[in-house]
Subunit: 198 residues, 2 copies
DNA sequence: CCTACCGATCGGTAGG
DNA sequence: CCTACCGATCGGTAGG
Protein backbone atom coordinates (compact mmCIF):
# COMPACT_ATOMS: atom_id res chain seq x y z
CA UNK A 1 0.00 0.00 0.00
CA UNK A 2 1.37 3.41 -0.88
CA UNK A 3 2.14 5.41 2.21
CA UNK A 4 1.43 9.09 2.20
CA UNK A 5 4.02 11.06 4.06
CA UNK A 6 2.68 12.99 7.02
CA UNK A 7 5.98 13.89 8.63
CA UNK A 8 6.56 17.35 7.28
CA UNK A 9 10.18 17.52 8.35
CA UNK A 10 11.21 14.54 6.24
CA UNK A 11 9.21 15.50 3.19
CA UNK A 12 10.38 19.10 3.42
CA UNK A 13 14.00 18.04 3.42
CA UNK A 14 13.49 15.92 0.33
CA UNK A 15 12.05 18.92 -1.47
CA UNK A 16 15.05 21.01 -0.46
CA UNK A 17 17.52 18.38 -1.67
CA UNK A 18 15.70 18.03 -4.98
CA UNK A 19 15.61 21.78 -5.56
CA UNK A 20 19.28 21.98 -4.61
CA UNK A 21 20.10 19.42 -7.30
CA UNK A 22 18.45 21.59 -9.96
CA UNK A 23 20.23 24.70 -8.74
CA UNK A 24 23.65 23.11 -8.38
CA UNK A 25 23.36 21.78 -11.90
CA UNK A 26 22.28 25.10 -13.39
CA UNK A 27 24.78 27.36 -11.67
CA UNK A 28 27.36 25.05 -10.15
CA UNK A 29 27.70 24.42 -6.41
CA UNK A 30 29.71 27.53 -5.59
CA UNK A 31 27.66 29.94 -7.67
CA UNK A 32 24.32 28.71 -6.32
CA UNK A 33 23.53 30.55 -3.11
CA UNK A 34 21.38 29.47 -0.20
CA UNK A 35 19.24 32.51 -0.92
CA UNK A 36 18.65 31.20 -4.46
CA UNK A 37 17.68 27.86 -2.97
CA UNK A 38 15.39 29.44 -0.37
CA UNK A 39 13.57 31.33 -3.11
CA UNK A 40 13.08 28.21 -5.20
CA UNK A 41 11.72 26.38 -2.12
CA UNK A 42 9.55 29.33 -1.15
CA UNK A 43 10.96 30.25 2.27
CA UNK A 44 13.53 32.62 3.75
CA UNK A 45 17.19 31.54 3.65
CA UNK A 46 17.43 31.13 7.42
CA UNK A 47 14.50 28.72 7.45
CA UNK A 48 16.40 26.16 5.38
CA UNK A 49 18.60 25.48 8.39
CA UNK A 50 15.72 23.93 10.30
CA UNK A 51 15.91 21.05 7.84
CA UNK A 52 19.56 20.84 6.86
CA UNK A 53 22.85 21.39 8.62
CA UNK A 54 24.77 23.16 5.89
CA UNK A 55 25.12 23.79 2.18
CA UNK A 56 27.72 21.06 1.90
CA UNK A 57 25.38 18.57 3.53
CA UNK A 58 23.17 18.97 0.48
CA UNK A 59 26.10 18.10 -1.77
CA UNK A 60 26.95 15.05 0.38
CA UNK A 61 23.44 13.71 0.12
CA UNK A 62 23.33 14.16 -3.64
CA UNK A 63 26.77 12.68 -4.33
CA UNK A 64 26.49 9.67 -2.06
CA UNK A 65 22.88 9.00 -3.01
CA UNK A 66 24.02 8.56 -6.60
CA UNK A 67 27.25 6.73 -5.75
CA UNK A 68 25.38 4.22 -3.62
CA UNK A 69 22.90 3.43 -6.36
CA UNK A 70 25.72 2.73 -8.80
CA UNK A 71 27.61 0.61 -6.28
CA UNK A 72 24.51 -1.44 -5.56
CA UNK A 73 23.92 -2.09 -9.24
CA UNK A 74 27.55 -3.12 -9.65
CA UNK A 75 27.19 -5.67 -6.87
CA UNK A 76 24.00 -6.99 -8.43
CA UNK A 77 25.51 -7.36 -11.90
CA UNK A 78 28.68 -9.00 -10.58
CA UNK A 79 26.58 -11.77 -9.01
CA UNK A 80 24.76 -12.66 -12.20
CA UNK A 81 25.83 -15.72 -14.12
CA UNK A 82 25.99 -14.22 -17.60
CA UNK A 83 28.86 -13.51 -20.02
CA UNK A 84 31.04 -10.51 -19.25
CA UNK A 85 29.91 -8.72 -22.41
CA UNK A 86 26.33 -8.85 -21.21
CA UNK A 87 27.38 -7.51 -17.83
CA UNK A 88 29.04 -4.56 -19.52
CA UNK A 89 25.95 -3.87 -21.56
CA UNK A 90 23.72 -4.07 -18.47
CA UNK A 91 25.90 -1.56 -16.63
CA UNK A 92 25.95 0.79 -19.60
CA UNK A 93 22.17 0.64 -19.92
CA UNK A 94 21.89 1.36 -16.20
CA UNK A 95 24.15 4.39 -16.55
CA UNK A 96 22.16 5.73 -19.46
CA UNK A 97 18.87 5.25 -17.63
CA UNK A 98 20.14 6.93 -14.49
CA UNK A 99 21.31 9.84 -16.59
CA UNK A 100 17.99 10.19 -18.36
CA UNK A 101 15.69 9.65 -15.37
CA UNK A 102 17.67 11.23 -12.52
CA UNK A 103 19.49 13.80 -14.56
CA UNK A 104 19.97 16.54 -11.97
CA UNK A 105 21.45 14.38 -9.20
CA UNK A 106 23.66 12.32 -11.48
CA UNK A 107 24.98 15.43 -13.18
CA UNK A 108 25.75 17.13 -9.87
CA UNK A 109 27.38 14.01 -8.46
CA UNK A 110 29.49 13.78 -11.60
CA UNK A 111 30.59 17.40 -11.95
CA UNK A 112 30.40 19.04 -8.55
CA UNK A 113 31.91 16.43 -6.19
CA UNK A 114 35.13 18.48 -6.15
CA UNK A 115 33.45 20.81 -3.68
CA UNK A 116 32.90 18.14 -1.06
CA UNK A 117 34.84 18.79 2.14
CA UNK A 118 37.51 16.40 3.14
CA UNK A 119 36.24 13.51 5.17
CA UNK A 120 33.63 13.05 2.42
CA UNK A 121 35.85 14.05 -0.46
CA UNK A 122 38.33 11.21 -0.11
CA UNK A 123 35.55 8.78 0.63
CA UNK A 124 33.81 9.73 -2.58
CA UNK A 125 36.98 9.58 -4.66
CA UNK A 126 37.69 6.14 -3.24
CA UNK A 127 34.26 4.84 -4.15
CA UNK A 128 34.71 6.14 -7.67
CA UNK A 129 38.07 4.51 -8.09
CA UNK A 130 36.80 1.19 -6.75
CA UNK A 131 33.78 1.30 -9.03
CA UNK A 132 35.94 1.86 -12.07
CA UNK A 133 38.32 -0.93 -11.12
CA UNK A 134 35.48 -3.39 -10.76
CA UNK A 135 34.07 -2.28 -14.09
CA UNK A 136 37.47 -2.77 -15.72
CA UNK A 137 37.76 -6.20 -14.09
CA UNK A 138 34.57 -7.32 -15.81
CA UNK A 139 35.92 -6.19 -19.16
CA UNK A 140 39.20 -7.99 -18.52
CA UNK A 141 37.34 -11.18 -17.70
CA UNK A 142 35.60 -10.85 -21.05
CA UNK A 143 38.91 -10.33 -22.82
CA UNK A 144 40.45 -13.44 -21.25
CA UNK A 145 37.40 -15.40 -22.35
CA UNK A 146 38.06 -14.15 -25.92
CA UNK A 147 34.61 -12.69 -25.80
CA UNK A 148 35.72 -9.07 -25.95
CA UNK A 149 38.43 -7.50 -28.12
CA UNK A 150 41.81 -7.13 -26.38
CA UNK A 151 41.46 -3.43 -25.59
CA UNK A 152 42.88 -1.48 -22.66
CA UNK A 153 40.15 -2.00 -20.06
CA UNK A 154 40.70 1.05 -17.82
CA UNK A 155 40.69 3.32 -20.87
CA UNK A 156 37.51 1.69 -22.12
CA UNK A 157 35.82 2.28 -18.77
CA UNK A 158 36.72 5.97 -18.82
CA UNK A 159 35.46 6.30 -22.36
CA UNK A 160 32.18 4.61 -21.53
CA UNK A 161 31.44 6.54 -18.37
CA UNK A 162 32.33 9.93 -19.82
CA UNK A 163 30.56 9.26 -23.08
CA UNK A 164 27.37 8.54 -21.19
CA UNK A 165 27.67 11.49 -18.83
CA UNK A 166 27.74 13.57 -22.03
CA UNK A 167 24.05 12.96 -22.59
CA UNK A 168 23.57 16.29 -20.85
CA UNK A 169 23.85 18.37 -23.96
CA UNK A 170 21.09 16.34 -25.46
CA UNK A 171 18.78 16.48 -22.56
CA UNK A 172 19.11 20.23 -22.59
CA UNK A 173 18.25 20.60 -26.25
CA UNK A 174 14.58 19.60 -25.89
CA UNK A 175 14.95 15.87 -26.47
CA UNK A 176 14.30 15.40 -30.14
CA UNK A 177 14.60 11.63 -29.78
CA UNK A 178 13.13 9.38 -27.12
CA UNK A 179 15.11 8.01 -24.21
CA UNK A 180 14.84 4.50 -25.60
CA UNK A 181 16.16 5.50 -29.01
CA UNK A 182 19.01 7.37 -27.37
CA UNK A 183 19.89 4.35 -25.26
CA UNK A 184 19.96 2.03 -28.26
CA UNK A 185 21.99 4.45 -30.37
CA UNK A 186 24.59 4.79 -27.66
CA UNK A 187 24.84 1.08 -27.02
CA UNK A 188 25.29 0.46 -30.72
CA UNK A 189 28.10 2.95 -31.01
CA UNK A 190 29.85 2.03 -27.77
CA UNK A 191 29.50 -1.73 -27.71
CA UNK A 192 30.04 -2.46 -31.37
CA UNK A 193 33.70 -1.74 -30.88
CA UNK A 194 33.88 -4.43 -28.24
CA UNK A 195 33.14 -7.63 -30.09
CA UNK A 196 35.56 -9.42 -32.41
CA UNK A 197 34.88 -8.96 -36.11
CA UNK A 198 33.53 -11.97 -37.89
CA UNK B 1 64.36 33.57 -36.04
CA UNK B 2 62.88 33.10 -32.62
CA UNK B 3 61.86 36.39 -31.09
CA UNK B 4 62.42 36.95 -27.41
CA UNK B 5 59.67 38.92 -25.77
CA UNK B 6 60.80 42.18 -24.25
CA UNK B 7 57.39 43.75 -23.70
CA UNK B 8 56.77 42.90 -20.07
CA UNK B 9 53.10 43.78 -20.18
CA UNK B 10 52.27 41.20 -22.81
CA UNK B 11 54.37 38.46 -21.33
CA UNK B 12 53.01 39.19 -17.86
CA UNK B 13 49.46 38.82 -19.09
CA UNK B 14 50.24 35.47 -20.65
CA UNK B 15 51.58 34.25 -17.32
CA UNK B 16 48.42 35.41 -15.57
CA UNK B 17 46.17 33.68 -18.08
CA UNK B 18 48.16 30.44 -17.80
CA UNK B 19 48.07 30.50 -14.01
CA UNK B 20 44.35 31.25 -14.12
CA UNK B 21 43.81 28.13 -16.24
CA UNK B 22 45.45 25.96 -13.61
CA UNK B 23 43.46 27.56 -10.82
CA UNK B 24 40.11 27.48 -12.61
CA UNK B 25 40.62 23.80 -13.33
CA UNK B 26 41.61 22.94 -9.77
CA UNK B 27 38.90 24.86 -7.94
CA UNK B 28 36.38 25.84 -10.58
CA UNK B 29 35.89 29.40 -11.85
CA UNK B 30 33.68 30.60 -9.01
CA UNK B 31 35.70 29.03 -6.20
CA UNK B 32 39.01 30.37 -7.48
CA UNK B 33 39.56 33.88 -6.14
CA UNK B 34 41.61 36.69 -7.58
CA UNK B 35 43.63 36.57 -4.35
CA UNK B 36 44.46 32.92 -5.06
CA UNK B 37 45.53 33.91 -8.54
CA UNK B 38 47.60 36.84 -7.31
CA UNK B 39 49.44 34.56 -4.92
CA UNK B 40 50.22 32.03 -7.61
CA UNK B 41 51.52 34.83 -9.86
CA UNK B 42 53.47 36.40 -7.00
CA UNK B 43 51.86 39.83 -6.74
CA UNK B 44 49.07 41.51 -4.76
CA UNK B 45 45.51 41.04 -5.98
CA UNK B 46 45.12 44.69 -7.01
CA UNK B 47 48.16 44.47 -9.26
CA UNK B 48 46.51 41.93 -11.52
CA UNK B 49 44.21 44.66 -12.79
CA UNK B 50 47.09 46.44 -14.49
CA UNK B 51 47.17 43.54 -16.94
CA UNK B 52 43.59 42.35 -17.16
CA UNK B 53 40.21 43.99 -17.07
CA UNK B 54 38.32 41.49 -14.94
CA UNK B 55 38.11 37.91 -13.73
CA UNK B 56 35.68 37.05 -16.52
CA UNK B 57 38.07 38.39 -19.13
CA UNK B 58 40.42 35.56 -18.12
CA UNK B 59 37.65 33.06 -18.75
CA UNK B 60 36.87 34.63 -22.15
CA UNK B 61 40.46 34.36 -23.25
CA UNK B 62 40.72 30.73 -22.19
CA UNK B 63 37.41 29.61 -23.70
CA UNK B 64 37.75 31.39 -27.02
CA UNK B 65 41.42 30.55 -27.37
CA UNK B 66 40.51 26.88 -27.26
CA UNK B 67 37.35 27.23 -29.35
CA UNK B 68 39.25 29.04 -32.09
CA UNK B 69 41.91 26.36 -32.30
CA UNK B 70 39.26 23.68 -32.72
CA UNK B 71 37.39 25.71 -35.29
CA UNK B 72 40.54 26.28 -37.30
CA UNK B 73 41.34 22.57 -37.31
CA UNK B 74 37.80 21.79 -38.42
CA UNK B 75 38.17 24.14 -41.39
CA UNK B 76 41.50 22.59 -42.29
CA UNK B 77 40.19 19.02 -42.15
CA UNK B 78 37.06 19.85 -44.12
CA UNK B 79 39.23 21.08 -47.00
CA UNK B 80 41.26 17.88 -47.28
CA UNK B 81 40.44 15.43 -50.03
CA UNK B 82 40.38 12.24 -47.97
CA UNK B 83 37.60 9.80 -47.05
CA UNK B 84 35.19 10.91 -44.30
CA UNK B 85 36.39 8.15 -41.97
CA UNK B 86 39.91 9.52 -42.10
CA UNK B 87 38.63 13.02 -41.41
CA UNK B 88 36.88 11.73 -38.30
CA UNK B 89 40.03 10.03 -37.14
CA UNK B 90 42.10 13.16 -37.73
CA UNK B 91 39.71 15.25 -35.68
CA UNK B 92 39.67 12.70 -32.87
CA UNK B 93 43.46 12.59 -32.77
CA UNK B 94 43.53 16.38 -32.68
CA UNK B 95 41.10 16.40 -29.75
CA UNK B 96 43.15 13.86 -27.84
CA UNK B 97 46.37 15.76 -28.44
CA UNK B 98 44.86 19.06 -27.37
CA UNK B 99 43.61 17.39 -24.21
CA UNK B 100 47.01 15.90 -23.43
CA UNK B 101 49.18 18.88 -24.32
CA UNK B 102 46.97 21.82 -23.35
CA UNK B 103 45.11 20.13 -20.57
CA UNK B 104 44.35 23.08 -18.32
CA UNK B 105 42.88 25.39 -20.95
CA UNK B 106 40.89 22.69 -22.72
CA UNK B 107 39.47 21.44 -19.45
CA UNK B 108 38.44 24.93 -18.37
CA UNK B 109 36.93 25.72 -21.75
CA UNK B 110 34.98 22.48 -21.57
CA UNK B 111 33.67 22.66 -18.00
CA UNK B 112 33.62 26.28 -16.92
CA UNK B 113 32.16 28.10 -19.94
CA UNK B 114 28.83 28.28 -18.08
CA UNK B 115 30.25 31.18 -16.12
CA UNK B 116 30.83 33.36 -19.15
CA UNK B 117 28.71 36.52 -19.14
CA UNK B 118 26.14 36.97 -21.79
CA UNK B 119 27.48 38.57 -24.91
CA UNK B 120 30.23 35.95 -24.79
CA UNK B 121 28.11 33.13 -23.42
CA UNK B 122 25.76 32.87 -26.39
CA UNK B 123 28.64 33.39 -28.78
CA UNK B 124 30.49 30.46 -27.23
CA UNK B 125 27.43 28.20 -27.20
CA UNK B 126 26.86 29.02 -30.85
CA UNK B 127 30.40 28.11 -31.83
CA UNK B 128 30.05 24.82 -29.99
CA UNK B 129 26.79 23.96 -31.71
CA UNK B 130 28.20 24.81 -35.11
CA UNK B 131 31.32 22.76 -34.49
CA UNK B 132 29.27 19.71 -33.55
CA UNK B 133 27.03 20.08 -36.57
CA UNK B 134 29.98 20.20 -38.92
CA UNK B 135 31.49 17.17 -37.21
CA UNK B 136 28.21 15.30 -37.58
CA UNK B 137 28.02 16.32 -41.23
CA UNK B 138 31.37 14.62 -41.90
CA UNK B 139 30.10 11.43 -40.29
CA UNK B 140 26.90 11.58 -42.33
CA UNK B 141 28.91 11.97 -45.53
CA UNK B 142 30.78 8.83 -44.57
CA UNK B 143 27.53 6.98 -43.92
CA UNK B 144 26.10 7.96 -47.30
CA UNK B 145 29.31 6.73 -48.92
CA UNK B 146 28.74 3.37 -47.13
CA UNK B 147 32.09 3.92 -45.54
CA UNK B 148 30.79 4.28 -42.02
CA UNK B 149 28.11 2.24 -40.20
CA UNK B 150 24.63 3.83 -40.31
CA UNK B 151 24.74 5.23 -36.78
CA UNK B 152 23.07 8.35 -35.42
CA UNK B 153 25.68 10.98 -36.24
CA UNK B 154 24.86 13.65 -33.63
CA UNK B 155 24.90 11.02 -30.88
CA UNK B 156 28.22 9.71 -32.12
CA UNK B 157 29.71 13.20 -32.01
CA UNK B 158 28.60 13.70 -28.41
CA UNK B 159 30.01 10.33 -27.44
CA UNK B 160 33.34 11.07 -29.10
CA UNK B 161 33.81 14.52 -27.67
CA UNK B 162 32.81 13.61 -24.14
CA UNK B 163 34.77 10.38 -24.17
CA UNK B 164 37.89 12.31 -25.04
CA UNK B 165 37.31 15.09 -22.53
CA UNK B 166 37.28 12.26 -19.99
CA UNK B 167 41.02 11.83 -20.31
CA UNK B 168 41.22 14.14 -17.29
CA UNK B 169 40.97 11.36 -14.75
CA UNK B 170 43.91 9.72 -16.39
CA UNK B 171 46.08 12.72 -16.60
CA UNK B 172 45.50 13.30 -12.91
CA UNK B 173 46.62 9.80 -11.92
CA UNK B 174 50.28 10.32 -12.86
CA UNK B 175 50.12 9.02 -16.42
CA UNK B 176 50.90 5.36 -16.23
CA UNK B 177 50.83 5.06 -20.00
CA UNK B 178 52.28 7.43 -22.56
CA UNK B 179 50.25 9.97 -24.48
CA UNK B 180 50.77 8.04 -27.69
CA UNK B 181 49.59 4.77 -26.22
CA UNK B 182 46.57 6.51 -24.78
CA UNK B 183 45.76 8.04 -28.14
CA UNK B 184 45.96 4.72 -29.93
CA UNK B 185 43.91 2.92 -27.30
CA UNK B 186 41.18 5.51 -27.54
CA UNK B 187 41.09 5.51 -31.30
CA UNK B 188 40.85 1.73 -31.32
CA UNK B 189 37.93 1.69 -28.95
CA UNK B 190 36.09 4.62 -30.47
CA UNK B 191 36.65 4.10 -34.18
CA UNK B 192 36.32 0.34 -34.33
CA UNK B 193 32.60 0.74 -33.87
CA UNK B 194 32.46 2.90 -36.97
CA UNK B 195 33.46 0.63 -39.79
CA UNK B 196 31.27 -2.08 -41.34
CA UNK B 197 32.05 -5.64 -40.23
CA UNK B 198 33.66 -7.85 -42.84
C1' DC C 1 53.29 47.29 -8.50
C1' DC C 2 51.50 48.39 -3.53
C1' DT C 3 48.47 50.06 0.50
C1' DA C 4 44.14 50.97 1.76
C1' DC C 5 39.68 50.27 1.28
C1' DC C 6 34.72 49.98 -0.96
C1' DG C 7 30.09 47.84 -1.46
C1' DA C 8 28.02 43.50 -2.24
C1' DT C 9 27.19 39.04 -1.16
C1' DC C 10 28.04 34.91 1.08
C1' DG C 11 26.94 30.85 4.67
C1' DG C 12 25.19 30.66 8.85
C1' DT C 13 23.33 31.98 13.89
C1' DA C 14 20.41 34.11 17.65
C1' DG C 15 16.24 34.61 19.35
C1' DG C 16 11.67 34.42 19.14
C1' DC D 1 9.19 29.67 9.89
C1' DC D 2 10.71 34.83 10.19
C1' DT D 3 13.46 39.23 11.35
C1' DA D 4 17.70 40.87 12.23
C1' DC D 5 22.20 40.48 11.84
C1' DC D 6 27.27 38.51 12.11
C1' DG D 7 32.02 37.93 10.31
C1' DA D 8 34.34 36.56 6.25
C1' DT D 9 35.33 36.97 1.71
C1' DC D 10 34.60 38.45 -2.73
C1' DG D 11 35.76 41.42 -7.28
C1' DG D 12 37.35 45.59 -8.06
C1' DT D 13 38.88 50.87 -7.50
C1' DA D 14 41.53 55.08 -5.88
C1' DG D 15 45.59 57.06 -5.48
C1' DG D 16 50.19 57.05 -5.43
Amino acid sequence: MARIKTDNNVSRKEVIVAKAAVLFREKGFKAASMRDLAESVGVEAASLYNHIKSKTELLHELCFGVANRFMQKMEEVEQEKIPAGEKVEKLLRFHINEMVHHYEEVYVSDREWKHLSDPYLSNFQNQRRIYRKRFAAIIETGIRAKEIEPIDAPTAVLIFLHAISGIESWHRSKQKISAEELENNMITILVDGLYPRK
